[in-house]
């Protein structure tokens, strides 16, 4: 009997032990860069200014203050309204891209992505040029662009690509056989749309709504630039922390901000889980057929939207080149001479690039190796489950909240990591943490798509697992690895909210500098800096697409059939 018991578990090889150690290290890293900062934030909310425990006093004060509580309602209104506008527009746009034969679909798709490459304050600045007190079209809005109206319009621009991306994916994965069956049963066009198209895209719509809602409620840049006296949660956190140095109340507002974001995240995950088996491997992809009336309608619709996006970008670009709005409209490069407007000058742009490159390199390595360890380590289920949980957490946490947590955690007395505070390193770490989830998911998806038996084959051939990782897994996953790196780069370039509390004078970032310049009243220079960011991240994305198409094809001949 004792013999039987002794044989009941396979001994772990040295390799297994090394991989388990890696998983434990990953848990430690994630706790350090996500878990503990959030914990510090949570604790701070229960302390007074001197760090004494005061229970729920801060929360009571928060809900008793009409001004603060009103911001929560404002945030909710703005998010709900923006979502209601963006989701139908994005659905129609994505429908045009995926289910019609309208011309130039690739161009429309490209234009719809532009806002992703811009910091959120860009649409705010463009709206000021267009509709502000000195705007061209101020009559259209009665000069009242500051406040809710401006925030919602800017948010629609800012969130549009995210919703289009999600819905394009949802609408593209359609099974042509369902449509053929419906046609054969003589269902009307409307009935087919209601019974086949909508149910198929339902999860995409819910997911897009949740993502847009979260983006709006947690965004800081738009409200800061064009919010005027209209307060929202994100600006409140900033005011409490930077303006009034009231860290405890900042923590409380941060927790209030976390609640809707986390809720939307949970809804999204529940919906995603249901979607899994919607499309089987046997499905026949749907290829849209020409239909003149429909195609004309969608061409018109997408053109109007695309012009709107280009107008906002173009306005910011034009504004950045104008000498003195609106009195002297002659063109100049003066606004790009940032030394005149900000002590750091072009250096802040250099800082942004350094941070983005750092986040791309370290973040890609960490997320990919991390996802690989979680997927491939034998046994050790509980700890791997913990990694999954920690890897998902950042997606639910607004950047502003994470940044605040970083102040409390890394700046705490007695934290041995204190030396990181106010360095470039902490900015890189924060960016990696903030955008960890998407990188992890991308890597995990890519890893799940390759044959699960590669490691078994390697073991039978006595080849160490790290060798198969380097020689097989990494080359196969190279496109996904590039995707992760570009995602991290672009997001680190454009983010405002997660770094606003963490920069030091010599590590100021371009997006933050643009915000400061705008605050100081030089809108043209702020627009110029935003455009430099757009140009940089868009250029990197274009390089990525070219590399994907030409370089990978040449280097990885085995991908060709």
């Amino acid at each position: 009997m004792s013999l039987v018991l002794a044989a009941s578990a396979v001994r772990a090889s040295r390799e297994d032990l090394a991989m388990r150690a890696g998983v434990v290290a990953l848990v430690a890293i994630l706790l350090l860069i996500v878990g503990l900062p959030l914990w510090s934030l949570l604790v701070k909310g229960f302390q007074d200014v001197d760090g004494h425990f005061v229970g729920l006093a801060n929360y009571r004060a928060y809900f008793a203050s009409p001004a603060l509580f009103n911001s929560a309602l404002n945030s909710f209104d703005v998010a709900a309204l923006s979502t209601t506008i963006v989701v139908p527009l994005a659905f129609l746009y994505a429908y045009g891209l995926t289910r019609t034969t309208m011309p130039l679909r690739w161009l429309f798709q490209g234009i719809s992505l532009i806002p992703i490459f811009a910091p959120s304050l860009l649409p705010g600045i463009a709206l000021i040029y267009l509709f502000g007190t000195q705007g061209f079209f101020k009559a259209l809005v009665g000069g009242q662009i500051y406040g809710m109206k401006g925030i919602v319009i800017a948010q629609v621009f800012y969130c549009f690509p995210h919703a289009v991306l999600i819905m394009t994916t949802a609408l593209r994965t359609a099974d042509a056989r369902l449509y053929e069956a419906a046609d054969a049963l003589r269902a009307s066009k409307l009935r087919i749309f209601l019974t086949v198209t909508l149910p198929g895209a339902k999860y995409g719509v819910v997911s897009a709504a949740m993502v847009v809602f979260t983006l709006v409620i947690t965004d800081f840049g738009v409200a800061k630039v064009i919010g005027g006296n209209f307060n929202v949660l994100a600006t409140d956190v900033y005011k409490q922390v930077i303006g009034q140095q009231n860290f405890s109340m900042g923590a409380v507002v941060g927790m209030v901000l976390l609640a809707p974001a986390a809720l939307a995240f949970v809804v999204d995950r529940l919906v995603q889980r249901k979607q899994v088996a919607l499309l089987t491997a046997r499905a026949v992809p749907l290829v849209p057929r020409p239909s003149p009336g429909r195609d004309a309608f969608f061409t018109l619709f997408c053109t109007v939207i695309a012009i709107g996006i280009l107008a906002i970008l173009g306005m910011a670009a034009w504004g950045s080149l104008i000498k003195y709005w609106p009195y002297n409209l002659s063109l100049t490069w003066e606004n790009y001479d940032f030394e005149k407007f900000d002590a750091n000058g072009w250096e802040s742009f250099g800082n942004s690039v350094r941070m983005a490159v750092g986040a791309a390199i370290f973040g890609t390595a960490l997320t990919f190796v991390g996802a690989w360890l979680t997927e491939k380590t034998r046994g050790f289920g509980a700890v791997r489950g913990l990694v999954q949980l920690l890897a998902f957490l950042p997606m639910a946490v607004p950047g502003l909240v994470l940044g605040l947590g970083y102040i409390f955690f890394f700046n705490a007395h007695g934290n041995p990591l204190n030396f990181l505070y106010a360095t470039m390193a902490i900015l890189v770490i924060n960016s990696v943490a903030h955008f960890y989830t998407v990188g992890h998911l991308t890597a995990a998806t890519a890893l799940k798509q390759i044959d699960p038996e590669f490691e078994a084959v390697s073991a039978s051939l006595k080849v160490p697992v790290w060798r198969t990782f380097l020689r097989v897994t990494v080359p196969i996953c190279l496109p996904a690895i590039l995707d992760i790196a570009i995602y991290l780069f672009v997001n680190a370039m454009t983010t405002v909210s997660s770094v606003i509390f963490l920069y030091a004078p010599d590590t100021k970032l371009a997006s933050v500098a643009a915000l400061n310049i705008e605050e100081a009243g030089t809108t043209a220079a702020a627009a110029a800096l935003c455009l430099v960011i757009v140009a940089t991240s868009a250029a990197v994305k274009v390089l990525h697409l070219l590399a994907d198409r030409f370089l990978l094809d040449r280097l990885q001949a085995w991908r060709r059939r």
Binding site: A9, L461, V472, R561
Partner: protein, 366 residues
């Protein structure tokens, strides 16, 4: 060790190369393997055969160390490998998905395990050439897996598994993903290769024809236990259980009652059968006969188990016809060659005298 069990699972007179003893594997509440014991002789080709979910793949993966058993022991060449991780066991494996590395050439795939053995480069190259010739793909070295057909990819996978000269070759449904024609050809090639190399081989399959044509011995499994172990002819002719009788080949199950140790009553017919020691008189039983064992030609008037039947259906299969025959409440199918159909003028509605030869009958408790 239980003598009866030893006789059942151990090939007589051969030294056991692989010894599986009392292997049990549980996944939560589900028991995938229940106290499985098995011996495989050196150089033998053994097939694990059974329906999906019967535990055959779990048993193979336990032998490889990929799916560690919950309890029980595995010994390979007298060495207890029960607790060893896969990398410390001695086996080569081929999967249904081939699991070829898509970014490496055929040469690099086959040489993958050789590179880590610190051999000379020229030696490795020579070995790869030798292996590719062995599996009949001498020209494919520079190609990538995606440029090969499914059958060719499976041969490369086989060459890769054999490269390090493992003592045990494990094949996990290696032919299932291939189309019928390629499958037939590869069956013979794998079997011939195995015989030539003399490598002890275990193959998992759900295809009985594959098992019958390739294996030296077949292990029929169901619900996590071994139902029968034996050479293909024995499995087919003398199935030990009703499950094996039903799973391997086609079989008529005729419900009846055991009247005497050598007589079964089917309605108002009484059939002679081989003597049944294990069953009590009066027990409900199934009387089994294979469709091709039903006799029609040269029937003597006093033939045992003679029955007059009517042909009610005739399904054309190709080389033969499957006839449904009815006599009162009795209904069974029989396979008739095209010759026989022509010679005897068998048509639907025709009356026919058949016999169920007693030595071809099997009786199982119902």
């Amino acid at each position: 060790m239980d003598q009866a069990l030893r006789r059942k699972v151990g090939p007589e007179g051969k030294v056991s190369y692989l010894e599986v003893r009392n292997l049990t594997k549980r996944f939560g509440d589900f028991t995938a393997l229940r106290n499985v014991s098995l011996d495989v002789a050196e150089g033998e080709f053994v097939c694990f055969l059974g329906p999906s979910g019967c535990g055959k793949t779990t048993l193979l993966r336990a032998i490889a160390g990929l799916e560690p058993q919950s309890s029980g022991t595995i010994r390979q060449k007298e060495r207890d490998i029960s607790a060893l991780p896969p990398s410390q066991r001695d086996f080569g494996i081929v999967f249904q998905s081939y699991a070829l590395f898509p970014n490496l050439t055929v040469t690099a795939n086959v040489g993958y395990g050789l590179a880590s053995q610190r051999r000379k480069r020229t030696e490795t190259a020579a070995r790869v050439v030798e292996l590719l010739a062995l599996v009949g793909l001498p020209e494919a070295g520079a190609k990538y897996p995606s440029q090969l057909s499914g059958g060719q990819q499976q041969r490369v996978a086989l060459a890769r598994a054999l490269a390090t000269s493992p003592g045990l070759l494990l094949l996990d449904e290696p032919l299932s993903a291939l189309d019928a024609r390629v499958r037939m050809r590869l069956r013979h090639e794998i079997k011939a290769l195995q015989r030539r190399l003399g490598v002890t081989t275990i193959m998992v399959t759900h295809d009985q024809e594959e098992a019958l044509t390739m294996a030296d011995r077949i292990v029929v499994m169901n619900h996590g236990v071994i139902e029968q172990v034996g050479p293909p002819a024995e499995i087919y002719r003398a199935p030990a259980t009703a499950f094996v009788a039903d799973f391997v080949g086609s079989m008529n199950f005729l419900a009846g009652k055991l009247e005497a140790p050598d007589r079964v009553r089917l309605g108002n017919l009484v059939m002679s059968c081989p003597i049944q020691d294990g069953l009590e008189s009066g027990a409900a039983v199934s009387l089994c006969i294979r469709p091709e064992d039903v006799r029609v030609r040269d029937l003597p008037a006093e033939a045992a188990n003679r029955v007059d039947v009517t042909v009610t259906e005739l399904d054309f299969i190709g080389a033969f016809c499957r006839a449904t025959l009815v006599a009162g409440e009795l209904s069974l199918v029989a396979d008739f060659s095209s010759n026989l159909i022509r010679d005897l003028g068998v048509v639907v509605g025709a009356s026919l005298a058949i016999a169920l030869p007693p030595d071809r009958l099997r009786v199982f408790a119902a």
